[in-house]
Each structure stands twice: as structure tokens, then as C-alpha cells.
């Protein structure tokens, strides 16, 4: 897909009913944005606790599998809130997002973060793998999700 086809697609998103409806409202964008932030905080909490355990900073007596099991439901809830609020936010300013470097950094890190969490970090930990690579898994996950959150905030400045 060429870049002019992509921008056309982004114009299509922005002209969608949801996009126009949100832009036409004074309150809707800020309110959705506030819940997006709460979703981010829920996901953030599960990332911090899970990854800090993997890095060996907290709850050292607890098995890493147990800590990940306890946090993953909340990770999924946070993620669900983020996606269900993030899509309408995106639709309301899709063209701005297309020209924002922060948006693309966020999207790339988001995809890597999802793949890494659900296909690498969680399966390895839940299968009982306990090798030397575990702290590195924690650090990589923490780093990825921090970039997702920070670049997401930065979209607002672009």
C-alpha cells in the first residue's frame, strides 16, 4: 500500500460517522480521553507489578507464574478499555495521527508489545520457565509499554 492510499484510508476513518460525531461534540473527546487514561493506568499497574517481579524488585518470595496469573486479568481489562476508547479517539483525528511521528511509534511499539506479552512473556512464565532471561523479559516488557504510554501522550502535542 502506497502512502497516498494510506492517507486516503485515514481520511475515510476521519469522515466516518463516529469520527464526525465525536468532533461535533465538546465533551465527548475529553471524556473518552479520561477513560483512556484510566485504562492505561490499569494496564500500567499490571505491567509494573508483573515486570518488577520478573526483574526481581518486588514480591521475591512469590513464584513469577503466580504474580503474572494475578495481574494478567487486569492487564486484559486495561487493554480492553484502552482499545475501546482508543479507536473512537483515533477516528476523530485520524489525519492528524497520520502526520504524527508519535502515533506511528506508539502503534509499532503497541504491536510489538502485544506480540511480546501474549506470545513470549506470558507463555514462557506460565509454563514455568525460570532461566536467566527472566529479568530481561521483565525489562523489555516494561520498556515497551512505557514507550507506548509516553508516545501516546505525545500525540496530543503534535
Amino acid at each position: 500500500m502506497e502512502s497516498n492510499q494510506i492517507i486516503e484510508l485515514f481520511y475515510f476513518f476521519e469522515d466516518s460517522f463516529i469520527g464526525e460525531y465525536i468532533r461535533g461534540s465538546t465533551w465527548l473527546f475529553p471524556v473518552i480521553e479520561s477513560f483512556h487514561l484510566i485504562g492505561l493506568a490499569i494496564l500500567g499497574g499490571s505491567v509494573v507489578i508483573g515486570d518488577f517481579r520478573l526483574m526481581g524488585f518486588i514480591l521475591k518470595r512469590e513464584k513469577i507464574g503466580y504474580v503474572i496469573k494475578q495481574t494478567r486479568v487486569w492487564f486484559k481489562l486495561g487493554f480492553f478499555i484502552l482499545v475501546s476508547t482508543g479507536i473512537p479517539l483515533f477516528l476523530s483525528e485520524a489525519v492528524k495521527c497520520f502526520y504524527s511521528r508519535a502515533f506511528w511509534i506508539k502503534m509499532i511499539c503497541l504491536v510489538i508489545g502485544i506480540v511480546f506479552t501474549f506470545l513470549v512473556r506470558n507463555p514462557l512464565v506460565l509454563k514455568g520457565y525460570d532461566g536467566k532471561i527472566i529479568p530481561l523479559l521483565g525489562f523489555s516488557s516494561f520498556f515497551l509499554w512505557t514507550v507506548v504510554a509516553a508516545s501516546g501522550r505525545w500525540i496530543g502535542f503534535s
Partner: protein, 178 residues
């Protein structure tokens, strides 16, 4: 208070922060990250009290393991928040959402005070009996609810719908933002 805010706005560092191209966005982004750090870890402390997570851990073990992170998050969130206020003191001071946020922080703070006073006295008993009083569960839920409202009102500070330089406003708005 308004005079203090006006004086803060004339200080060299406040002007520098306000006019900086990158420093202000960096501080604001950090503020968001520290909110996630604070609220996210507090969520698990409060959920433990309601018996939803980490039930293998006693209340004391959970607090010992997680609360230091929550406190670090709170300190960094407060520090960056103060810097954000300092960058635009007059506008923030007169913003209705800022005032609502401060009020909610005071309510959340009082709830936390009640919570920790009782917990420091009785946590060992709860560990032993595996029982948490209903009032403490209510306090944990109230904590999550109040801090969620703090986050929402904090986010809304950025919007100038009710700023006093945008007139006419309803009389009660002008009264609350005076």
C-alpha cells in the same frame, strides 16, 4: 492565593517552563506515566483488600511488597504535578477542574489516612484471621473511585470551557472560579 499565583507566574523559571518547547511536554508525559505507576499499583493494593487478587498473600505481605512503589509513584506524580502548576499558575488556580481535582485529592487523602491508621493497628489481626472488615473494603473501593475522579478531573484541566477569560459564563461558574 490569587496574588501568590500571580507572583509565581512572574518568576523566571515559571516563564521558562511555560515557554519551553520540549520541557513542558516531557514533564506532562512523565506526570501521566507516574499517574499510571501510582494508580496502577494502588489498584492492586486495594483489590487485595477486597479479596480479588493475590489472596495467597497476607495483607501485610502485599502492603510491604507493593506500597513502596505506590508511594514512589505518588511522590513523582506530585513533583511533576507541582511543576505543571508552577508553569501556568494563574490559569490553573482559576480553573474549575483544577479546584475539583484538589478537593478530590483532599478527600482521597483523608480516606487514605483513615485506611492506614486502622491498617497499622489491625493488619496483623486480619492476617491471622484471614478476615477484612467491610468498612475497610468500602474504604478500598472509595479510594479507587476517588482517584479515578482525580484522574478524570486532572485530564479536563487542559480544556478551557469554563475559564474566566471566556465570558459570558453562568454566575455559579464565575463564583467557583473567582
Amino acid at each position: 492565593m490569587l496574588d501568590i499565583a500571580k507572583w509565581l507566574a512572574t518568576t523566571e523559571w515559571s516563564i521558562a517552563l511555560h515557554e519551553s518547547l520540549y520541557l513542558y511536554p516531557w514533564i506532562e508525559s512523565s506526570h501521566v506515566l507516574f499517574i499510571c505507576f501510582f494508580f496502577g499499583t494502588l489498584l492492586f493494593v486495594d483489590l487485595r483488600l477486597t479479596g480479588k487478587v493475590f489472596t495467597n498473600l497476607s495483607i501485610s505481605e502485599m502492603n510491604k511488597g507493593i506500597l513502596p512503589l505506590t508511594i514512589i509513584g505518588f511522590c513523582l506524580m506530585t513533583l511533576t504535578g507541582l511543576l505543571l502548576f508552577y508553569a501556568i499558575p494563574v490559569r490553573n488556580y482559576q480553573n474549575i477542574f483544577f479546584r475539583i481535582k484538589i478537593l478530590l485529592i483532599i478527600i482521597a487523602g483523608l480516606n487514605a489516612l483513615f485506611f492506614h491508621k486502622r491498617m497499622s493497628k489491625e493488619a496483623k489481626k486480619w492476617d491471622k484471621d484471614s478476615f477484612i472488615p467491610k468498612s475497610m473494603k468500602a474504604s478500598a473501593i472509595a479510594s479507587l473511585f476517588t482517584w479515578s475522579l482525580v484522574i478524570i478531573s486532572g485530564r479536563l484541566i487542559a480544556y478551557n470551557w469554563f475559564d474566566c477569560d471566556r465570558q459570558p459564563q453562568p454566575e455559579w461558574i464565575n463564583f467557583l472560579t473567582s
